[in-house]
């Protein structure tokens, strides 16, 4: 059995495009903090606090937010690397919370993860060829003898010289390593790639190469991407839809163009206005929406809207009502009692 034959075999038992769907409902993930003398947790932080997410075939969904927003935790939940404390994830029509280990293992290859740090993600003692084809070996898609061929094919898919298969991670640049990580993630032909800050550790010039690669892969294979990033520019360039997270919640979500040009949540406006644009006259003319104070301690969230302490539009009702996502039409949703009151970011 050769590597290429085995890859074709996988393609056959891929779910059809219609089945390619991930739906997450009411996800909650809590982490204990501050342990007492007997190891019992004093308090808990809800890193993800009631999040719904939907990803369909061939679509890139971006998740943006600052540190502590819960975007990476959401990524780990969706990747099935962690189990939610509440809520469920339905992948290709199957509720992942109700599956046995073996079934979950089988389902898990339909989505794969790429992390920020291409240095920490690769075993320095294993050759690039081994790193790339290892998932195939683990899932018994190839034999050891077929690994070299499979690895070379995968490296070609991500635009690398197949000759790199015999090299080791330390001999590669950051951009090449990130391509290797993407090649390995693609080995089992997932339909969904979860990419957590895939370009943050890379140089400007290398970043554009990885963005191009993700775009081409999507065009050629219909791959879906969940792109988690603090970098609005990257998300804006790649994502069809974007979700903005603040303290464990999605506060605004919709088609990227709508959210960027016509943000409805005051936090989205502030976040967008803080991203400097690489155009000096335009940047000088922009008005920044300044946020008051720092984000509240996630273990002691305020009542009502969790953003209200920093919001310049806050009214009395914001302290009593916890706003839920409301559809403004055309699939643009916002969780703010005053939605519509916020103009586009200057």
């Amino acid at each position: 059995m050769t590597g290429s034959a085995s890859i074709d075999a996988i393609a056959k038992d891929q779910p059809s495009a219609a089945a390619r769907e991930l739906r997450a409902h009411g996800l909650v993930r809590t982490y204990p903090i501050g342990r007492g003398a007997f190891g019992r947790a004093h308090t808990a932080v809800r890193a993800v606090d009631g999040v719904d997410l939907e990803i369909t075939a061939g679509v890139t969904v971006g998740v943006v937010g600052e540190s502590g927003s819960g975007k990476s935790t959401l990524g780990r939940l969706v990747s099935l690397l962690e189990r939610p404390d509440a809520g469920r994830i339905v992948l290709d029509g199957r509720d992942t919370g109700r599956l046995h280990r073996a079934e979950l293992q089988e389902l898990r290859r339909r989505l794969q993860v790429v992390f920020q740090d291409p240095f920490g993600s690769l075993d320095p003692t294993k050759s690039i060829g081994h790193a790339v084809a290892e998932p195939l070996l683990v899932h018994r898609r190839v034999r050891r003898s077929g690994m070299a061929t499979a690895a070379e094919e995968l490296l070609t898919t991500v635009g690398l010289d197949p000759g790199l298969a015999r090299r080791y991670p330390e001999q590669l640049s950051g951009g090449q390593r990130q391509r290797v990580c993407i090649a390995r993630a693609l080995a089992l032909e997932p339909w969904l790639l979860v990419a957590d800050e895939p370009t943050s550790a890379l140089d400007l010039s290398t970043r554009s190469e990885i963005l191009n690669l993700l775009l081409s892969l999507q065009q050629d294979t219909g791959l879906s991407i969940l792109l988690i990033s603090h970098d609005f520019a990257t998300v804006q360039h790649l994502a069809h839809r974007v979700a903005v997270m603040y303290l464990g919640r999605i506060v605004e979500e919709g088609p990227t163009h709508d959210v960027v040009t016509n943000p409805q949540h005051p936090y989205t406006s502030a976040l967008l206005s803080a991203v400097p644009v690489a155009d000096p006259p335009r940047q000088r003319a922009r008005q920044r929406v300044v946020l008051r104070g720092e984000a509240p301690n996630p273990a002691r969230l305020p009542s009502g809207c969790r953003f209200r302490g920093r919001c310049r539009f806050a009214v009395a009702e914001c302290a009593t009502t916890d706003p839920q996502l409301t559809d403004l039409g055309s699939g643009h949703r916002v969780a703010c009692l005053l939605h519509g009151a916020v103009g586009p970011a200057a």
Binding site: D203, L204, S205, S208, S273, Q283
Partner: protein, 340 residues
Amino acid sequence: MSLAPPPSREPLLAVSDLAIDLAGETVQRGLIHDVSFTVAPGESVALIGESGCGKTMTGMAVLGLLPRGFTVSSGSIRLGGRDLLACSERELRSVRGRSLGAIFQEPMSSLDPTMRVGDQIAEARRLHLGESRKVARARAEELLDRVGIADAARRLDSYPHELSGGMQQRVMIASAIACDPDLVLADEPTTALDVTIQAEILELLRELRREQGIAVLLVTHDLGVVADFCDRVVVMYAGTVVERAGVDELFADPAHPYTRALLDAVPQTGHPRTLLPVIQGRVPVAGRFPAGCRFEPRCPHGGDERCLAPQHETALPGARSVRCARAAAGEPVTRPAVPA
């Protein structure tokens, strides 16, 4: 509103023909080669380029903090008319504390984790200005307040780990400006921070420039930050300066093919989901630079006979310069190719 001072003023910092070698089994010459630029009082100058182009190394040379084995083999670095390369280690320490402040990317690796932040800031004033413990502490409180830390009196007794990343960076700025320096070197000061915190830190640095006339030499790879904060830009590639220009001119009309390529690598808001132009290849490893133009192997115009000879800096109209024979001859710079 441009904060640029009139160009007639004497430069505060003048780096001229700087060259840095690495001593080892074989001496590697010209890791940094022929680097010249100036920073005027109160001005903000960006040093940009990919990793490995020598931005940080140049900054470290200005601070007199080159790592072991690296030596300045020629050129000069003058700060306020004083030749820093001729200074003794003792004199340099005094310059670093008083006239020259530094801010780095990781506040936690620059702040002493065992020392209260008030003591760290006060130490500089006691050491360099000979202030008493009490006076220096009062001044440290003012400084914390100045950099926007709420409840400064109480925060004096905090340890660095008790503060958020943004607050740590504010403490580092307070300690960098403790002795009213003329110039602050900021090496990727906001790279580790969230964008809303980055905007606040840049606003703080802007205020310090406006109110205290502090000049800033900003090492960064973020072109948005350059557009937001800087008056002039020095573009480095493979250890040399390839272009110097005012920020508006540089973004509107880059002269060097490398600058053009860097600017084009930024995703444009109007064209989502389109392939971006890429710079082929990689920055050459230090010590293995091409004999001619160092960018030639990656340049869309490479292969021209003129590119095979070492390139010299040529002055352009409007206080600009470029290190490219083609650009100096006024030939247009095309965009790098979009991959097929």
